[in-house]
């Protein structure tokens, strides 16, 4: 039977096409007015605060009100121009407004501050100085040194991964007191890094009376001042940080191991594979997705390393243990150099974003190739 279709009765492909043009115009007009109002208030306020105009508000509160009104207009615009689809989009509105206020605006403001000469003690306040901070950063040997230290700290994650995997395998095996050891191995993760710095770094590793120093003396190390030599200081920081965060990787890897199919392991055993072969040809490849996730998350944590360093060495001796975060922290805290400190922070943000994006690409390709 021939289909009785009528083009006149067909529903339009896009439901928004059913919305009257007048209503759409109203929506667009409302959004345009709210946007114009918001931008006007922002510009007026900036001119007033920079003393280029006498018209403005004493506080930034009107800008916040205008922003909220703009958010409401945005919602109305969606509903007026897209109908039901617009109503559904309203659910995204709070998240959108929050992201603009808490992520996009601070980032843009941060980039602006990075282009200013702003020392908190200056009577003149903020002054735009273009790329001066950028050139200063490129010529800053201490910042370069901190970046170089970060490379070493990040590479240490590979060692942490090996240890964490070993512990995960151990806790996955049928050993005695397994539950007890799981709790014990997780304890460092529950401690604040600052507490770890004091309890381990300042007490256990104290060079005169600390048990670690005493043991080192017994083993023939004459002068076990762990934090006085650049190499041992760096290694000590890495060890303390590893001691704190290895449990994090361990717990992720343990979860991965326990989620693995037993049949696969049993099949390998039936085929006569040794434990070594089973690990390298079955367990390790199957664990790669979890491993990559654990390592990348750990690297992201590592890139923020600061608290242990600030507490124990303040970046010393001679910048040997400085991380970028601890260096930036001092630039802000000790020298109140907000403009330059923000330039360092923004540059580091870009480095991290680029590096982590590249890392994710490489890791996913690696996992695909192996599996």
């Amino acid at each position: 039977m021939a289909e009785q279709t009528s083009t006149a009765n067909a529903w339009p492909a896009n439901p928004a096409d059913l919305i009257p043009a007048g209503r759409k115009r109203l929506g667009w007009g409302l959004l345009a007015a709210a946007t114009l109002g918001l931008l006007t208030i922002i510009v007026v306020q900036i001119l007033y605060k920079t003393e280029m105009s006498t018209v403005g508000f004493d506080t930034w509160r009107p800008v916040i009100y205008a922003y909220i009104l703009w958010g409401a207009a945005l919602g109305a615009w969606q509903v007026l121009t897209r109908g039901e689809d617009g109503q559904r989009a309203l659910f995204l509105l709070p998240a959108l407004l929050f992201t603009i206020a808490m992520v996009i605006f601070p980032t843009l403001f941060g980039f602006y501050i990075a282009l200013t000469d702003w020392n908190l003690s200056s009577f003149t306040g903020r002054r735009f100085n273009g790329l001066d901070n950028f050139w200063q950063m490129l010529a800053d040997p201490y910042y370069r040194n901190a970046l170089l230290n970060m490379v070493l700290y990040v590479l240490a994650v590979l060692v942490e991964y090996v240890v964490a995997f070993g512990l995960a395998l151990l806790l996955n095996a049928q050993i005695r007191a397994r539950k007890f050891f799981r709790v014990v191995f997780l304890l460092p993760l529950m401690l604040s890094p600052v507490a770890v710095s004091w309890m381990v770094g300042k007490s256990l590793m104290e060079y005169r009376f600390g048990p670690a120093a005493t043991l080192a003396r017994h083993l023939g190390w004459d002068n076990p001042a762990f934090f006085s030599d650049p190499i041992t200081a760096r290694i000590s920081i890495m060890m303390l940080d590893a001691w704190t965060f290895i449990p994090f990787m361990m717990i992720m890897l343990l979860a991965g191991l326990q989620a693995m199919s037993r049949e696969v392991l049993e099949a390998a055993r039936v085929d006569g594979a040794t434990a070594w072969q089973t690990f390298w040809q079955v367990t390790f490849p199957l664990m790669l997705p979890v491993s990559v996730t654990a390592v990348i998350l750990r690297i992201i944590f590592k890139l923020k390393l600061a608290d242990i360093i600030i507490t124990l060495t303040s970046g010393g001796p001679g910048g040997a243990t400085d991380s970028v975060s601890s260096f930036i922290y001092r630039e802000y805290r000790d020298r109140s150099n907000v403009g330059y400190g923000t330039m360092l922070a923004m540059a580091y943000l870009i480095i991290i974003v680029v590096f982590v994006t590249w890392l994710l690409k490489v890791a996913s390709r690696f996992v695909r190739n192996v599996n």
């Binding site: 200056s122 201490y142 010393g316 001796p317 910048g319 000790d334």
Partner: protein, 558 residues
């Protein structure tokens, strides 16, 4: 103490601490006893019963004071407040107080002192506690962002440029001046300190100068004396074993003591504090440098007074930096990681090292701090001098006809209590804030603070009455030596005065970081000094050179 006796005690189970506590050798102190202090002493009078009473809380040698002691002292010292404030007069007033919690002192004591004040006046105080290293940053942020969220602040004179200079503080009312007996302050803490544009803003609660603390038992030890005599190294003019009088001698003694044992323990000489400490660590290089850099004919020593060109890279400062580099190998193994807190409270008080520059806290802690093992074996003097002093005007080293050049480092000029201008619009709140400040800066309460661990040292003429200290339980020779070192530092004609200019702690912090790298061997002394000078020049330009020159001159009284 003889080695055989020491070993016998150790075998019997006595701790090193017990042994050191009992190993009093007061010969050096006795030599210093009372000298030069006669003018400052007076017999205790009957009307001093309150002062005598509070000094017995808890009593010297009876353990460290507790919060109950602070409250008791605060309660007993309320009379001055009662003369100006009626009971319950500040009911409903809420004040916010920002200060330090370093070493569990400062704010920790203020809380106790002010509890009886709160109970009497009806006001309520909430507290913002800051670590020493975070202090400058927190204060600068509050100022720059216009978010002064406190009514009263414990602050040092160096910050007056940043705070009073920006009109953020309330001017002291006359009744406060009377209540705290303003005229009792030692001369160097009188205006211009605590003032800005001629207005008084500060209730002084502390005086500051670095003095020289040394171990009397070490410097009177016969075995070390014999070894010194037999030593063929450079002695820098210290013919007989004894307390060094110049930095050249300090260096020689420090190198000599390397590897030596004293009472069965490793003994060290001078303790440097190379690790950054939020800007405050720079004072310790300053103390090594003042004798080289502060010429008696020139008030300026940190910057050129006409141009603000840094002097930190001149030969005097470079020599001081080089001294640290040269001394570090002879100091304890982990010294590169020692900040001033470590050197004073974890090393010197605990019996490590034999010489240390510090504020007066060492003197008030050796007998009263629970962790001190050197209460009976500590002596004091002004900072060592130098055989020659650098003349910035001629660019040459001068040898003075009068002998070594001494230049005590009046570092930081002491803590004060300041009331913020934000209370000025509310008379009741303003009076409450000033009353709290006056209570903390009271004459009698301040004596207690000087005598016990508090974070504060003597700063009034009335603090130098030795019989009061002796009645409290202090040994006369000890306290005479301590107070003499303080008085001689405050009143020294060639004292190196702290520059009260905006951003001074940014200068110090920038220097600290570069110094840490220099001490770690990453650059030579001159290179480090040049890097500091370059950073300081940039800061001066950032903050405003013309204004800095004007304020620097004013702070030096030029």
């Amino acid at each position: 103490m003889r080695v055989d006796l020491y070993e016998k005690l150790m075998r019997a189970g006595a701790s090193r601490r017990d042994v050191l506590k009992g190993a009093a050798s007061m010969a050096a102190i006795a030599a210093a006893s009372g000298a030069g202090l006669g003018a400052l002493t007076r017999p205790a009078a009957a009307d001093d019963s309150l002062r005598a009473k509070i000094l017995q809380i808890p009593g010297v040698g009876k353990g460290q004071p507790t919060d109950a002691d602070f409250q008791k002292v605060g309660e007993l010292c309320l009379e001055a407040t009662k003369a100006n404030v009626k009971e319950g007069e500040f009911a409903g007033v809420e004040l916010t107080f920002m200060g330090l919690n370093n070493q569990n002192l400062h704010n920790v004591l203020f809380r106790g002192f002010l509890k009886p004040w709160e109970a009497y006046t009806g006001a309520k105080i909430s507290w913002i506690d800051l670590a020493q290293a975070d202090y400058n940053a927190r204060l600068q942020q509050s100022i720059a962002t216009g978010t002064v969220d406190f009514d009263v602040i414990e602050m040092g004179a160096p910050f007056e440029g940043d705070v009073c200079g920006k009109g953020l503080t309330s001017e002291m009312p006359d009744w406060v001046k009377k209540q705290i007996d303003f005229d009792d302050l030692v001369n160097y803490l009188k205006p211009p300190v605590g003032t800005w544009n001629g207005k008084q803003y500060r209730v002084t609660i502390d005086g500051d100068a670095h003095n020289f603390n040394y171990r009397t038992d070490v410097f009177s030890d016969s075995e070390l004396a014999a070894a010194w005599k037999a030593d063929s190294g450079d002695k820098a003019g210290l013919a007989e074993w004894g307390v060094p009088k110049t930095w050249q001698q300090v260096q020689a003694v420090t190198k000599f003591l390397k590897g030596k044992k004293f009472k069965g323990q490793d003994i060290y000489g001078y303790l440097d504090a190379p690790k950054p400490w939020g800007g405050f660590g720079f004072y310790f290089l300053g103390s090594r440098a003042t004798a080289y850099a502060k010429h008696p004919d020139d008030k300026a020593w940190l910057f050129d007074a006409d141009t603000m060109k840094p002097r930190v890279n001149n030969p005097a400062w470079v020599r001081a930096i080089q001294d640290v580099i040269d001394a570090l190998p002879s100091e304890p193994a982990d010294q590169i990681n020692a900040d001033p807190n470590t050197t004073a409270f974890q090393q010197f008080l605990a019996g490590t090292g034999s010489m240390i520059p510090w504020w007066g806290d060492v003197g008030s802690n050796v007998k009263t701090n629970d962790s001190s093992v050197i209460g009976d074996v500590t002596g004091f003097s002004i900072l060592p001098g130098s055989d020659d002093v650098y003349n910035s005007k001629t660019g040459k080293w001068d040898k003075l006809a009068s002998g070594p050049n001494y230049a005590p480092n009046c570092a930081y000029l002491g803590w004060g209590v300041y009331v913020m201008a934000r209370v000025d619009s509310d008379e009741k709140k303003k009076k409450a804030a000033w009353s709290a400040a006056a209570h903390l800066g009271g004459k009698d309460l301040s004596l207690w603070c000087a005598a016990y661990p508090s974070g504060f040292q003597p700063y009034r003429n009335s603090h130098f009455n030795i019989p009061e200290w002796v009645a409290a339980g202090y040994d006369e020779a000890f306290i005479s030596s301590y107070l003499k070192s303080e008085a001689d530092s405050y009143n020294h004609p060639n004292a190196a005065i702290e520059p009260r200019i905006p951003g001074i702690f940014q200068y110090y912090s920038a220097a600290e970081d570069i110094l840490a790298n220099t001490f770690a061997g990453k650059m030579k002394a001159q290179e480090g000094a040049d890097a500091i000078a370059a950073a300081w020049e940039k800061l001066t330009d950032q903050i405003g050179r013309e204004n800095q020159v004007k304020l620097y001159k004013a702070s030096l009284g030029m």
